[in-house]
């Protein structure tokens, strides 16, 4: 039990889902009492690995060995892993807003006296735990009445109440502001000095550099390397290199951009969070799009890419504060989605199934749904025209379906995405905003979608592509903007953009963003 020995070892963990290898032979070792960071791009397999460890994926559903505290461990449920002293705090906090802090801390682990709850003990113990995480709130305060930063601390207090030996924090600071984040990191430091081992998953590399003792980098489901921060003198650049150091795998169709004049401009766009009015989701964002140009937007999760696009698309997200939209030299006021569609703007959502499609509908009805007025006579839908339009797009986009009468729920992800694209191409937009256009679809369909995007640009339309996959942005875009914490931190031409330079701008906080010179040529 000396400090520095290995508390957890995971060896050759392989986890397959039908058709996809999410983890292949991942190994890592965590030393007792350290803070161990796991870094990797979106989708690299970090969360899957933690789910394997905590028993969300039960033992037997993966191969490989887990040794915890010197004993082979394979947990069947989260309860098992918690019993052994492993507690995971997810990014989406699992607290019940209407219950008090104390009730949340002891949820499922209630302090009892016989059959009734021992409120005196509950309060006293909760107060004690809150003191340990430096939170000075009345334990009887309801969760909904405290901020996200404090909620995060309540989660940690809850973990401590379970006699935690290994605490896993998944993106703990993603939703926090700078000072709350710093406070959380101090608490983590304090827990480390009390001997609690911690694993942190984070995209904020500066924080990792500041707090972590070791870093395991995961890329494409494989563990690439484990770095010792002090011994190896690791800095952000070193981490970025590990995270993105791969060849461009996805291929892109041949494409020669023909870029025309600027026709769409956004100036000083400021948007407030819809509920938390103290938070800006777009901070004075300005950008422009030229005809025939594919403009990429890079940013980490929660950076505010989707928020920016949706607020432009008829203010369908957040509360608009100020800023201008200029299209073809004219100022636009798009107060709702129909107005945006009327202005020939299309927005393909990142979340196909919950925001993009009515899964009860069929292909033909979906195809025409964004601008029904194009095929109506009076108020009546012309079903002949509807069928013809749907059939035309099915052929053009090569959607694989027996007929346009097929329900969209039966299609594969790639074909669903094509139907969504068809729906927006049907409106014949001048500006197309594509939010994560290839999320969750296979390589072949991706290639086809890239081709479609390039064809649209060749027709003189402006295309905005928001993506979490840097290789995709690099392969597709003529110009790439980076967003960090709601602010546009840079703009790189295709020639100057690399994964490293983008990643740096994506993780740059606003103040340092000024150093990056946008090359708006």
């Amino acid at each position: 039990m000396t400090a520095g020995d290995v508390i957890l070892e995971m060896r050759d963990i392989t986890k397959e889902f039908p058709g996809v290898k999410a983890l292949s032979n991942v190994s890592m070792a965590v030393r007792r009492g350290e803070i161990h960071a796991i870094c990797g791009e979106n989708g690299a397999g970090k969360s899957t690995l933690m789910k394997v460890l905590s028993g969300v994926w039960p033992s037997g559903s993966y191969t490989g060995d887990i040794v915890f505290e010197g004993k082979p461990a394979g947990f069947s449920t989260i309860r098992d892993s918690e019993h052994a002293g492993i507690v995971i705090i997810h990014q989406e906090l699992a607290l019940i807003p209407e219950l008090s802090i104390a009730e949340n801390i002891f949820l499922g682990n209630e302090q009892r006296k016989g059959l009734s709850i021992d409120w005196v003990a509950t309060r006293a113990k909760a107060a004690e735990l809150l003191a340990r995480v430096g939170l000075s709130e009345d334990p009887m305060t309801k969760i909904k009445d405290i901020g996200v930063g404090k909620q995060q601390l309540v989660e940690i207090a809850k973990a401590l109440s379970k006699d935690v030996k290994l605490l896993i924090l998944d993106e703990p600071t993603a939703a926090l502001n700078e000072s709350d984040s710093q406070h959380l990191l101090q608490i983590m430091d304090g827990l480390r000095s009390k001997g609690i081992t911690q694993i942190i998953i984070s995209h904020k590399l500066n924080e990792i550099e500041q707090i972590a003792d070791s870093i395991t980098i995961i890329r494409d489901g494989m563990s690439v390397e484990t770095l010792r921060v002090k011994e190896d003198g690791v800095d952000e650049n070193r981490i970025i290199k590990g995270m993105v150091g791969r060849e461009l795998e996805s291929r892109f169709p041949e494409h020669t951009p023909q870029i025309g004049e600027t026709f769409f401009e956004v100036k000083n766009w400021r948007v407030q969070h819809p509920i938390r009015t103290d938070r800006l989701v777009c901070k004075d964002s300005s950008f422009f799009v030229r005809r025939g140009e594919i403009v990429g937007f890079a940013g980490l999760m929660g950076a505010g890419r989707t928020e920016l696009m949706r607020s432009i698309f008829g203010r369908s997200y957040g509360t608009w504060l100020s800023g201008e939209l200029i299209m073809n030299g004219q100022h636009l006021t798009l107060k709702n989605v129909p107005a945006a569609i009327g202005a020939d703007i299309a927005y393909v959502t990142e979340d196909r199934k919950t925001l993009g499609l009515n899964l009860l509908d069929d292909i033909k009805r979906t195809t025409v749904s964004a601008e029904l007025s194009k095929i109506t006579r009076g108020l009546v839908v012309d079903e002949t025209a509807e069928y013809a339009a749907a059939e035309q797009f099915r052929t053009e986009l090569r959607t694989k379906a027996p007929s346009v009468d097929e329900g969209v729920a039966k299609l594969s992800g790639g074909n669903q995405q094509k139907v969504v694209l068809a729906k927006w191409l049907f409106t014949d937009p001048e500006l197309l905003i594509l939010d994560e256009p290839t999320r969750g679809i296979d390589v072949g369909a991706k290639y086809e979608i890239y081709g479609i995007i390039q064809r649209l640009a060749a027709q003189g339309k402006g295309v905005i592509v928001v993506s979490s996959e840097l290789p995709e942005l690099l392969g597709l875009s003529d110009r790439i903007y980076t967003i960090c914490e709601g602010a546009i931190t840079g703009c790189l031409d295709k020639e100057h953009a690399t994964q490293e330079s983008l990643m740096r701008l994506m993780t740059t906080t606003t103040s340092r963003g000024a150093e990056a010179t946008p090359t708006a040529s």
């Binding site: 889902f17 058709g19 999410a22 791009e41 979106n42 989708g43 690299a44 397999g45 970090k46 899957t48 969300v56 039960p58 559903s61 989260i78 989406e92 999760m301 950076a303 505010g304 890419r305 989707t306 928020e307 369908s316 997200y317 709702n336 989605v337 129909p338 945006a340 569609i341 990142e350 979340d351 919950t354 925001l355 993009g356 499609l357 009515n358 899964l359 009860l360 509908d361 749904s369 964004a370 601008e371 029904l372 007025s373 109506t376 108020l379 009546v380 839908v381 079903e383 002949t384 069928y387 013809a388 007929s403 009468d405 329900g407 729920a409 039966k410 729906k423 999320r439 969750g440 979490s468």
Partner: protein, 427 residues
């Protein structure tokens, strides 16, 4: 079996519903020794249930859009008493009375629609409040008394098509109505087929189409001739119902408004991001429901010749039951006007048959309850057979709990899990 399936558009659900209706009619015809299929009894079934079927038309729109309306019985009662009072005390004629009733219904509908659509209170609550309020209003206006209505007004509930032209032994207008109905259905089918051919879509074989048309026409003409041979012609309330079915059937399947109602019920967020103004749609369906409730109330008052303090009690439940038996989904986005009418007819025939057999109200209610449950269970089962969409939706809903217990046996996880990192929404 394959042929039969094609005959009904391959839709097991519809087949089941129509089959159940036919079975019920034949069963009662046998068990009541031929009392079911008599001119007077058919006439009674239509007269006695037209108001519920009118409600079912409005209710299916409400349910497709993802809401519910519990207030329809009370709204119908309020409108009924106001109209009766206006005609007795203020001297309004029957026509102005009907207009007043519809206007009052529209006003109530605008009230409930506003709370639902623009304030955002769930329709369940808004209409629960309406159920209490308008029941009280009925008794307040009528001082808990019964108010009779004039004879002209009674036509919309109790009237029949008059005898016109030569004496053929049948009610001529009723026969004519049947013939027009058949002609419209045949022409409609042929036009639809021609359209499909024109755009090069798959069409069913002529044999299937003509068999189906022949069957439908046979049923229509059979029923109409049977009614026409009786003492009274086809009921006026039935005529109103047919007109409404045609109108709302067209509205839901062919118009922009109809599309938008399904879109809002199917996925409100996706609809909004496609430019559908969901508040307006929600307002419309709620307002429309109250107008139809007003009409139903007046039809009932006309038939019972007076408006009373307990008119309309329990109607909302009958209408909702009809809609769900007719294949609508509780979660919205699914349902048809014709399906709801068939659902309503199943209940009506059941009621009628049990009455003819002198089975008491107690057992009738027990049987109706079980029929509703079994019909929806069958519906769920047939959807699982034919439509993976629903299973997909169920699995999406159960994802969290499933993930912990049996991850690898669930192929639907494949799409979701490997990208857990990226799937988290950014908002």
């Amino acid at each position: 079996m394959d042929f039969i399936k094609k005959l009904f558009g391959g839709d097991i659900r519809q087949l089941g519903m129509i089959g159940a209706l036919v079975f019920l009619i034949l069963f009662f015809q046998w068990s009541t020794d031929g009392l079911t299929l008599t001119p007077d009894n058919l006439n009674n079934i239509i007269r006695g249930n037209a108001h519920i079927l009118v409600l079912a038309i409005g209710m299916v729109l409400v349910i497709i859009a993802g809401h519910i309306d519990l207030s329809v019985g009370s709204v119908a009662a309020s409108v009924g008493i106001l109209v009766a009072l206006a005609m007795r005390d203020w001297g309004l004629n029957w026509f102005l009375g009907i207009l007043l009733g519809l206007a009052f219904g529209a006003l109530i509908g605008a009230w409930q629609g506003w709370w639902t659509a623009y304030v955002g209170i769930p329709a369940f609550i808004v209409t629960l409040a309406g159920m209490l309020f308008f029941r009280g209003l009925n008794q307040f206006i009528g001082k808990s008394n019964t108010i009779p209505v004039p004879e002209e007004f009674q036509t919309i509930g109790g009237g029949s098509l008059p005898e016109v032209g030569p004496d053929t032994g049948y009610n001529n207008l009723t026969v004519l109505l049947g013939l027009i109905g058949c002609a419209v259905i045949v022409l409609g089918a042929l036009r639809g087929r021609a359209r499909l051919v024109k755009i090069g879509a798959d069409v069913e074989s002529p044999a299937v189409m003509w068999t189906r048309l022949a069957l439908i026409c046979l049923v229509i003409m059979g029923a109409m001739l049977l009614i026409a041979s009786g003492t009274k012609g086809f009921p006026v309330s039935g005529l109103i119902l047919v007109a409404l079915v045609l109108f709302y059937g067209f509205l839901t399947s062919k118009t922009v408004l109809g599309r938008h109602i399904y879109a809002v019920g199917g996925n409100r967020h996706a609809a909004e991001l496609s430019g559908v103004q969901s508040k307006k749609i929600n307002f419309f369906v709620m307002a429309n429901m109250s107008v139809l409730a007003a009409l139903a109330g007046m039809m009932f008052v006309a038939r019972s010749r007076a408006s009373g303090p307990f008119d309309g009690v329990g109607w909302e439940l009958d209408a909702i039951a009809a809609v769900f038996i007719g294949g609508a989904a509780v979660t919205g986005g699914v349902g048809t006007v014709v399906g709801s009418i068939v659902g309503g007819l199943v209940m009506a025939v059941l009621n009628n048959g049990l009455q003819l057999e002198s089975i008491g109200a107690d057992r009738t209610q027990m049987i109706k309850g079980m029929v509703l449950l079994i019909a929806v269970a069958f519906d769920l089962y047939s959807k699982k057979q034919g439509k993976p969409s629903l299973i997909g939706r169920l699995m999406d809903g159960a994802k969290g709990s499933r993930a912990a217990t049996q991850p690898d046996q669930n192929p639907a996880e494949a799409e979701v899990t490997p990208t857990t990192d990226t799937i988290r929404t950014e908002n």
